[in-house]
Every structure is written in structure tokens, then in C-alpha cells.
Symmetry: C2
Subunit: 242 residues, 2 copies
């Protein structure tokens, strides 16, 4: 049985169930484990000696929160992360997560700056962590993300995307307005989304917090993680419809 | 420079600073990373094939919360944890963490049961995670923990202690009332406590969330963690007073 690819709606349902009174998880917990998985994936593929400078691109939603957690862990691992977050989320948790990064002296490109500052940052970036849009993304791509995606794509810097490459349809996988990213590495959280069935790069899974009962209920067919790892690489096998 | 051993007061101060408006961490985050470090330490020393059955002994405070997080991760890693938590903490977070374990079908010995049930559980336990007393422990050791520590000690089952072996003075290290535990493995969180200077077993450090600024402010002289590891083993070097 192959792993299940989730619709946006099912991904949402699993998230809600995890954080319901029954699931009992807090957003803080899930985001911490998700962000740690993103950081560990990047570290597994891009050695910090050769790729020390990571540009962590954060969207305004929970995906951006995962990015902030990942930025902090990357800083702990010895990388030199920089945060680009042009539309900081208003939730209190993002503010806290961002303060934690600031306390680690992780610089943030001023939100008010133009995409010129993004271009400038990219010229001294070794690898990008794309935490812009997640599984709740709905087109159209609004400014400044429309021009930002084009700039990131053109930079040629390797990209690690979280959950769904930014600019892709969460279920259809097609690239919107021709400006979606083409990541080298993808880290899916909880389970991969429908839209990444055709993804050809290295694909990891993170979010090791789904109970066996939930896995069975939603027929997720998750792969085995090794030992105490928080991520597992998915084999390059053709995805079958369940 | 050797690592700094913390007084109870300094450990408390660091915890408070991490969770202050300035530090911006939530208890959920810190406990998640601490508990994960405890589970990874146990998994590093005690292979799940030979030591599958883990009795996670939880006290009523934050240390017990770390234990609950560790129990969940151990379950994820493929161990068969059982929880012994005779005095469940009243904080809402412990209830949530316990629900997460229950959702994973991790059994809990009924709190109302006598220490006979602890003895019975120990007879089918391969390794103990001691998350009973932490750095805020103050003697005397109250029932049922007094008799429980004696029973655990006599069982001969290997012990992994969190932060301070239960029954030890946090600063003096001496064993209270002759019933403190003698763990084989210790996982110190953030930085080791004064009381474990003379600890002879394998000693790990977890809690990879202390900023460089904080490390310098408190002169912690923490060791380097490897790669994206959440734990690091401390070398067996004689501890020097700073």
C-alpha cells in the first residue's frame, strides 16, 4: 500500500483533529516538531560547510510559523539563516517565534522593503527554505509574493519547500501564473498533499506525531521512521491512487 | 573551560528567562524539546529490540510533563512505554500531554493503586525513565514516592534519570533518606545541576534552545551538539569549579 496523498480538506481535518480537545495537541507543539523536521531535512541534504547561508522565506500563515521554528533550529545547527517575511502573521505565536529568532541574532529583512532587498539577499544565499504557502493556499498569488516567487525562481539557488512548493495548486500540482517554485527538496508534514504526486526531487516526510489510530482512520499508510529520527525520506516509487 | 553546573536557583532563573516576554518561549515548546531529548537519550543507550518495555515514572511537576512527552516519543520510536504517575499534576498542560499518550494507547498505572502495582510493573520493565523529581525538588520525599524510590532501586532495572536523579539533593548531590536512585544514564536539560558533579554513568545534555547570548550571560560553556542532534554526550572529564 502506498502512502496516501491528502486533499487540502483532509489535511485541514487532520490538523483540526490533532488540535481538538480529543487530539489535545497545542499549535506550539505541532509547529515545534514540524519546524524541527524542516530544519533537519535541509541539514540532511545541504551541508552547513558548503551551504551555510539559508534564506528562510515565510508566508503570513502557519507555514510561516514552521519557517520561523526552522530558522531557529538552523541557527542552533550552525547555519546562518536570514528571514524574509514580508507579511508577518498577526497571531501571537508568530510574534513569539520571531522574537526567539531575533534573540538568536537571526536577521530579518525589513518587511516594508521592496523585492530589491530580496534579490540582494538571494545574491548571498546558498539555499532557500520555502515556507511561504502551505496546504491552505488559495490562488491568486498576491503581492509581494507574485514578484517574489519569480525572483526566487530566477535566482537558481537550491530550494527546500515545506509541504507544497509555493505557487503550486495544493491538489492539482500545477503551477499558477507560471511563477511557482521548482524545489530540489520537499518536506511534507504529516502526509504528502495531492499536488506533489509528480514531484521528482528528494522528498522527506516530517511531523512524527500522528497516532496509529489516526493513521488507520485516515488510511495514511505512513512509512516507518528510523530509530528516533524526526524525518524519513520517501522512496522514489510511482504514486498509486489508493 | 568546563561546562557550568547550575544551582537550583540559577536553573530556575534560566527557565524563567526563557519563558519571559523577552525569551518568548512557551512551556509547550520547551517541554516538547526537553521530552524529545529524554526519549532520544534513552533510545541511544537502550536499543528497543533488547529493552522494549519502558516504565516512565512521572512526578507531579514539570519534570513529570517532560516524562509524558518522552513517553509519547518513545511510543513513536517503537518502544512499549507504560506511565506511572501516582500524583498527576493539576496544570492543564499535563492533562493534554497525558491525553496525547492515552491516544497512543500508552497505558497508565491507575494513580490510586498501591506501590504493589509499581512492583508488578517493574517485573515486566526493561528500562526506567525517571522523571519524578526535577531541579525544584525539596526534601522530604513524600509518599508514595518514598516507598516507590526504594522499590525502583531494589528492582535492579536500568534507570535513565532526567536532570537530577530522584532522591538526590539538587545541589549537594547526596541521597536523601538512603532511597535516592542510582541511574545508569542521566540527561541534563539546558545545563547540568550542581548535584550531579560526581555522577559516574553516561551523561547527556538536552534542551538545545539556549541562545548564545544567554549562554554567555550565564557563563554556561555548553558543549557543541553534532549536526542536527537534540542531545550530546558529555565527556567523562573531571568537573572543575568555574
Amino acid at each position: 500500500m502506498s502512502i496516501r496523498y491528502l486533499t487540502a480538506r483532509l489535511a485541514q481535518q487532520i490538523d483540526e483533529e490533532l488540535m481538538s480537545a480529543t487530539g489535545a495537541f497545542s499549535l506550539d507543539q505541532l509547529m515545534e516538531l514540524a519546524g524541527l523536521a524542516c530544519a533537519q531535512t535541509l541539514a540532511k541534504v545541504y551541508d552547513k560547510e558548503r551551504y551555510p547561508r539559508v534564506l528562510v522565506c515565510c508566508g503570513p500563515g502557519n507555514q510561516g510559523g514552521d519557517g520561523l521554528v526552522a530558522a531557529r533550529h538552523l541557527g542552533m545547527f550552525g547555519y546562518e539563516p536570514t528571514i524574509w517575511m514580508p507579511k508577518p502573521g498577526s497571531k501571537e505565536i508568530y510574534k513569539r517565534l520571531h522574537t526567539q529568532c531575533t534573540n538568536m541574532k537571526i536577521p530579518t529583512i525589513p518587511p516594508s522593503s521592496t523585492t530589491d532587498s530580496l534579490s540582494l539577499a538571494l545574491s548571498s544565499t546558498d539555499v532557500i527554505l520555502d515556507a511561504i504557502f502551505g496546504f491552505s493556499f488559495q490562488p491568486p498569488i498576491r503581492p509581494p509574493f507574485d514578484s517574489a516567487l519569480a525572483i526566487i525562481s530566477k535566482s537558481g539557488v537550491p530550494i527546500v519547500s515545506v509541504d507544497i512548493p509555493s505557487g503550486w495548486d495544493v491538489e492539482g500540482g500545477k503551477i499558477h501564473e507560471g511563477i511557482g517554485l521548482e524545489p530540489d527538496v520537499l518536506v511534507s508534514l504529516t502526509a504528502p498533499k495531492e499536488g506533489v504526486r509528480a514531484f521528482k526531487g528528494r522528498h522527506f516526510l516530517g511531523g512524527r506525531f500522528v497516532t496509529k489510530a489516526m493513521e488507520e482512520k485516515f488510511k495514511l499508510n505512513l512509512p516507518q521512521y528510523n530509530g528516533s529520527d524526526q524525518i524519513v525520506e520517501l522512496a522514489q516509487v510511482p504514486a498509486e491512487k489508493l
